[in-house]
Amino acid sequence: MSDTQNLTLVQAVRDGLHGELRADDDVVVMGQDVGKNGGVFRATEGLYDEFGGDRVVDTPLAESAIVGCAVGMAAMGMRPVPEIQFSGFMYPGYDQIVSHMARFRARSRGRFTLPMTLRAPYGGGIRAPEHHSESKEAFYAHEAGLKVVVPSTPYDTKGLLAASIRDPDPVIFLEPKLIYRAFREEVPEEAYTVPIGEAATRREGDDVAVFTYGAMTRPTLEAAETLAEEGIDCEVLDLRTISPLDREAIVDAFERTGRAAVVHEAPKTAGLAAEITAILQKEALLYQEAPIERITGFDVPYPLYALEDYYLPSATRIEEGIREAAEFEP
């Protein structure tokens, strides 16, 4: 039994980076303020002092070059871990992500692979200015050649980050900043991996299968407990990876319950919930006992913070949505 530390999610990011930097000289952390400053969220705190400026690199402010240079480094066999300070600033690097990061392997017929992990704090709920709260994971899930990971616990964060950095393919690693410091969890001190592409059952139940990920996992579990008191027993599946999706786990949970709700903070239209609904429609139509509920952000630009509590699915909205799925009678 290895020793553990009681870590927040952002400390688990740091711990994960630390382990991989120590284990593999080819790992390089790079981005704005990741060095001396330790990252604006402290995700890289202390790494510069330990590993130096060639491995924990303060770069100029230039998202396209941060991603693009990482593409070149990764093509040469290094394992760069570029950080974009906020996911809302990924767009200047978006051309690099979709035109090159996602396609380098395919374009070179497998000669090159890009073992790079692009990290960004993402999602809302922290009273941030514009462009600091968006949830655009569907952009990246839509892009073949990428893997997209969204952890929801410190344990998973460390393990999924290690798995991402060791993965031969490029990974978009989105860190829900609302829960960077919301709670702590015992995390092993030694390095370990949590496999990419596997969902985790956070609560078992027979009545409604609820699919979620990232920061929405906690209000979803809260809603599930409230509903349990009413006799509605939810199974809560934390997807952890949204590309590739754990289709088997999703279909399996649905087949046992016949009812489903999907919760995410991203806008509804063409979001992950639509994809999950389509999977269930195709794979498990005959098990379906109620319309599949989507409890999501609205199809509006992410609001300034005075209204963000209305925008983000709350435990109450989630509870209402799940109740719809549970109580539907044909």
């Binding site: 100029p60 396209s64 070059a65 070149g72 040469m76 690099q96 070179s108 017929r109 590739p244």
Partner: protein, 367 residues
């Protein structure tokens, strides 16, 4: 004088338009000089045949290089085998010099993805079509080379239009800040499709843009292969082993002209006049070097004829090889997306395979 100590608008020159020596001839063996001539002839002949194949419907859209052989062959000749070329989409000639078999280039423009894959022992990145977005890759690759203690230099080719893009500036900035062994090689061919060089920037030269990033910029007559060789050799040497006080990166502006269209889908008569083309044709790098080599007694009619025959045969062989390549299997759609084929992609491939087996390829190809 060190080539990097010149005024930005004082291009390095070795041969004038008549092949007369006007600068320092680089120290090359006779056969190396002939090699530059032969490779330019190869690129020119390849180009003519490629355009013709497109016109005959045997190839898709193709970006011609004629006029730019001096810059491409001169620069690529200055590289060591382990150095890397990061091309845009027009550097077929440079890629051949660095070892890419010409049939790969044909395959790519004939729509076969395999054409973008250089053989394992040929250090050429896949073609990049978006403008300037590959420049950061070259800086990143060179950065990796430096961090790992390797000795490899990365030469990145791009056009004058690329210097207007943010990626070019971000990449130059990183190259300077991290002092990466990168040679940023601008093929200033005067036109970004229909937009002239004067509309691209108000800078008097493109070379001077290096000043802003703290490293050397130098202009070279891009239609003078020996001058290009000399400048690139100096830049590569500096990238590998910089003297005190100089950064490794260099921005080379090779001033030249694209004789033909931007691509076979473009009609340059709409935006430029024949006089201009004629003026630049007088600077053609091939007769220029030929004249010099004949004057030096290195080439004669027999040798020129032999080179012509050799080049024609090589291109004919490449065309035959490319045209006889079988249509790629649809599995290629799926198998290179990820290192390990995800189950969902396996399922999608199985669906396609089943339908293909049931209905035949005719159902897909309209044949």
């Amino acid at each position: 004088m060190n080539v990097f100590d010149r005024a930005y608008d004082d291009p390095v020159r070795v041969l004038d338009e008549d092949g007369t020596v006007v600068g320092d001839v680089p120290d090359l063996e006779t056969e190396e000089l002939v090699g530059i001539y032969r490779d330019m002839r190869l690129a020119r002949h390849f180009d003519g045949r490629a355009v013709s194949l497109q016109r005959q419907g045997r190839m898709g859209t193709y970006p011609p290089l004629s006029g730019q052989e001096g810059a491409q062959v001169g620069s690529a000749t200055a590289l060591a085998e382990d150095d890397w070329i990061v091309p845009s989409y027009r550097e077929h000639g440079a890629a051949f010099v660095h070892g890419l078999p010409p049939e790969r280039t044909l395959l790519y423009w004939m729509g076969h993805g395999d054409g973008a894959r250089a053989p394992d022992d040929v250090n050429v990145f896949p073609i990049a079509v978006p403008i300037a977005s590959h420049v950061p890759h070259a800086v990143g690759g060179a950065w990796a080379s430096k961090l790992r203690g390797d000795d490899d230099v990365f030469v990145c080719y791009f056009g004058d239009g690329a210097t207007s893009e943010g990626d070019f500036h971000e990449a130059c900035n990183f190259a300077g800040v991290f002092d990466t062994p990168t040679v940023l090689f601008c093929n200033n061919n005067q036109w970004a499709i229909s937009v002239p060089r004067e509309r691209q920037t108000r800078s008097a030269t493109l070379a001077q843009k290096a000043e802003a990033y703290g490293f050397d910029g130098v202009q070279v007559d891009g239609m003078d292969p020996l001058a290009v060789y000399a400048v690139t050799e100096a830049a590569v040497e500096k990238a590998r082993d910089p003297p005190d006080g100089r950064l490794r990166p260099t921005l080379i502006e090779a001033v030249q002209y694209r004789f033909g269209a931007h691509t076979t889908a473009d009609d340059p008569t709409v935006y430029r006049d024949d006089d201009e083309v004629e003026r630049w044709r007088r600077k053609d790098p091939i007769p220029r070097l030929e004249r010099y080599l004949r004057d030096e007694g290195i080439l004669d009619d027999d040798r020129v004829d032999a080179i012509e025959a050799e080049v024609e045969e090589r291109v004919a062989d490449a065309i035959e090889a490319a045209e006889s390549a079988p249509r790629p299997e649809p599995r290629a759609l799926f198998e290179h997306a990820y290192a390990e084929l995800p189950p969902e992609l396996e399922a999608q491939y199985a669906e396609l395979t089943a339908l293909r087996e049931e209905r035949g390829d005719a159902a897909f190809l309209g044949e």
